[in-house]
Amino acid sequence: MLRDYDPGPFFDEMFTPDRVPRPHYAKIYEELAGMSVNQFEERRQLADLSFLLQGITFTVYSDGRGTERLFPFDLAPRILPRPEWDHIERGLCQRVFALNLFLQDVYGPQRILKDRKIPRSLVYSCQHFRREMIGLQPPSGIHTHISGIDLVRDSKTGDYLVLEDNVRTPSGISYVLENRAVMTRTFAHAFHSHEVLPIGHYPTELCQILRSLSPRGVRNPVIVLLTPGIYNSAYFEHSFLAQQMGIELVEGRDLVVDCDIVYMKTIRGLTRVDVIYRRIDDEYLDPLAFRSDSVLGVPGVMGAYRAGNVALANAVGNGVADDKAVYAYVPEFIRYYLGEEPILRNVETYLCSEPHQLAYVLEHLPELVVKAVGESGGYGMLIGPAADSAAIADFRDRLRASPRNYIAQPVIGLSRVPSYDAPTKRLAGRHVDFRPYCLFNGEKVTIVPGGLTRVAMQPGSLVVNSSQGGGSKDTWVLKGTV
């Protein structure tokens, strides 16, 4: 499967530039190199069938009748040696602490604004900044219960960089857990010959945090996961997590608020709800507080939250911390709140709201990646080197019209991992990123070892988002040194 494999000019996770397998990939290299196309195909079909049967699919409505597609899963794992992971873990813990302190501050005393470490106008102009949160102390001071922080490895230096923070409703953990389950079945031998750190305790850890948020001192608080419903692309994940944690999966219509108390409608009448793990965006959460046309939310839930009668995870208003322009200031947050130097660096970022930086960006558009600050999922993006002159002209106009809405970054040559290329039936280098999931209980950050490795399935592509045709891989963190 690996004959004639070309690591190319990029950092290859499996091979050194001289095409020698790195020590932590040695065993999986042997396994894959000794495998015939038929053997590999057989396992691939087994894995696909397993995803199909479990309904781990998303729906494409382009053909008018709704076709279900599988999220592409690539069988060749991504492997991290322990020291590399330890470094990442330390960096992420630091970052989560800083982000949470920033949120406490920005919706509280606003020291950082008074000390002019970040422009007030930048914070207040964030699309996801919520005035309703000012002065509201969430239980235990936790805003970022769950964060998914996207990392990339820069081919030039081999260093991990933070590409973006996701502290609203990050998704993807179910694929991490399901990928592992499928991998242990289809690649049992290879899996057992490695000492891979387990990740199965994620739901237990999350559930413990949710329980600890309960405003009532009862032994069994009622915890629910609030989903927008089956038409949401992450619905599988919502039901998966609810089932794994043994909590109720509810839709907005299952809940009702009376006198600032949230109840769910059961066959025995109304039952009080203590904690809501909500997977609905702020805008749709409460039609009385935010978008009044939302039918997904729960009218009055913000009132109950403000009264301290129900806990929400994540907190409302977190979007101000993962705004792509605010992102540029996170290293500053780490210095300001923790008095430490950032362990994981940011990708160099140009803020188009700053006139001299905008001038640079406008001059260098063909070399840069431009991103809309409020968007996610790979939408609203310009990849300069791949864009034609019309697209570049279009972005030039947009940048001039609303500079605050854009940032620009140099193109990062993402590292690559051997991945199956169906047309040629062999493994070829494909670009990847990495999203670990961080849980914060107010005192410490817990990160299950691993995360979601997203892979751009098209040759040469740098876009890993599932909405743009990306796939995923199982990610192994090895115990001990190799």
């Binding site: 049967l53 309904g55 009622v222 089956i230 509810v250 066959i267």
Partner: protein, 319 residues
């Protein structure tokens, strides 16, 4: 504590699964029985099959004639017929998807696999080979569904809502089968003659009662005995009496009410109907008129369904 929406979904999952199975049984048996008949001695009539599933108004919107092919296509595959077998399986799957965190993994994978299997059937191909292959697979899929749920679900309210949904749907379907078959067999006959054995055999087979009939009555097949078996038999799992008894047990298990009381209108109606089915003789029912009896019974079934929904599923908006 069970969410009302989940109870509602479980109830309807069972109803749709039963509807798919019953439709498959009716199609399978009648199709082959009708094809065996010679057109000279008996006028081939397919439209009663449409009446059994209660779709006599929708059918003419799509087809000019009730031919074998049209009826099979309509009842099994038509995507504009919300009660076609394929659509029923789709409803089962959609409902399961919204509550997949509350059913067992085995149930979900079974239902999801069934949905994908059914979607792969090609209507033209199945019509060409006849309905047996398709119908038989649906019949066993339904058995499997209940086998899997019985073996993997805890016996809590959720399981009882499944039982209640299946029992109510089955009682109504059996009532319609008996009602329509009686009318068809008598109307299609020349005065004074009796419908032959084969047609009654088909009726019995469609509700898996042929062997039981033979063992119980040892006689040639008589219409009154067939009706007695399908309506009043205490042990045959597809008889109306048995279904209503199951329904009553499940409703009591949900509310926790004792054997000599009822907690809501659905339980009261189910209990009352069960009494009638326990103590009435088939001769009395015929004397009062079988058709009227069955029409009333279906009305009661619908009322029970409405009261279950009002008691457990719906929350009135109070301003």
């Amino acid at each position: 504590m069970m969410l009302s929406r989940i109870a509602d979904s479980l109830f309807w999952i069972a109803r749709y699964m039963e509807r798919a199975e019953d439709t498959a049984r009716i199609l399978d048996v009648n199709y082959h029985m009708l094809l065996e008949q010679s057109a000279k001695t008996y006028r081939l009539r397919w439209d009663p099959l449409v009446a059994i599933v209660g779709e006599q108004e929708r059918f003419p919107e799509f087809y000019k004639e009730a031919t074998a092919q049209n009826v099979f296509e309509f009842l099994a595959f038509n995507s504009d017929n919300p009660n076609s077998i394929v659509q029923c399986i789709g409803h089962v799957r959609e409902n399961s998807r919204t509550i997949r965190d509350r059913i067992s993994r085995e149930m979900w994978e079974d239902v999801n696999g069934l949905y994908h299997r059914v979607s792969r059937f090609r209507p033209a191909e199945e019509i060409a080979v006849g309905p047996h292959r398709f119908c038989n697979s649906i019949k066993f899929a339904s058995h499997r569904f209940h086998g899997v749920s019985d073996d993997t679900l805890p016996r809590d309210e959720g399981w009882h809502f499944l039982q209640a949904g299946r029992a109510l749907e089955r009682a109504e379907m059996t009532a319609r089968i008996v009602d329509v078959e009686y009318q068809k067999l008598y109307e299609g006959l020349a005065a004074g003659s009796q419908p032959d054995n084969h047609q009654w055999m088909a009726v019995l087979q469609s509700v898996a009662a042929y062997e039981i009939y033979r063992r119980e009555y040892h006689s040639r097949i008589e219409p009154e005995r067939v009706a007695e078996l399908l309506i009043l038999h205490p042990q045959h799992p597809r008889s109306i009496r048995f279904s209503i008894a199951t329904l009553q047990q499940s409703l009591r298990a949900i509310s926790g009410s004792g054997a000599d009381s009822y907690a809501n209108e659905a339980e009261r109606l189910a209990g009352k109907l069960h009494e009638t089915l326990m103590y009435d003789r088939i001769e009395e029912i015929f004397a009062r008129g079988l058709h009227a009896f069955l029409v009333d019974l279906q009305k009661t079934c619908r009322a029970i369904g409405e009261h279950i929904a009002r008691t457990y599923f719906y929350y009135a908006v109070v301003e």
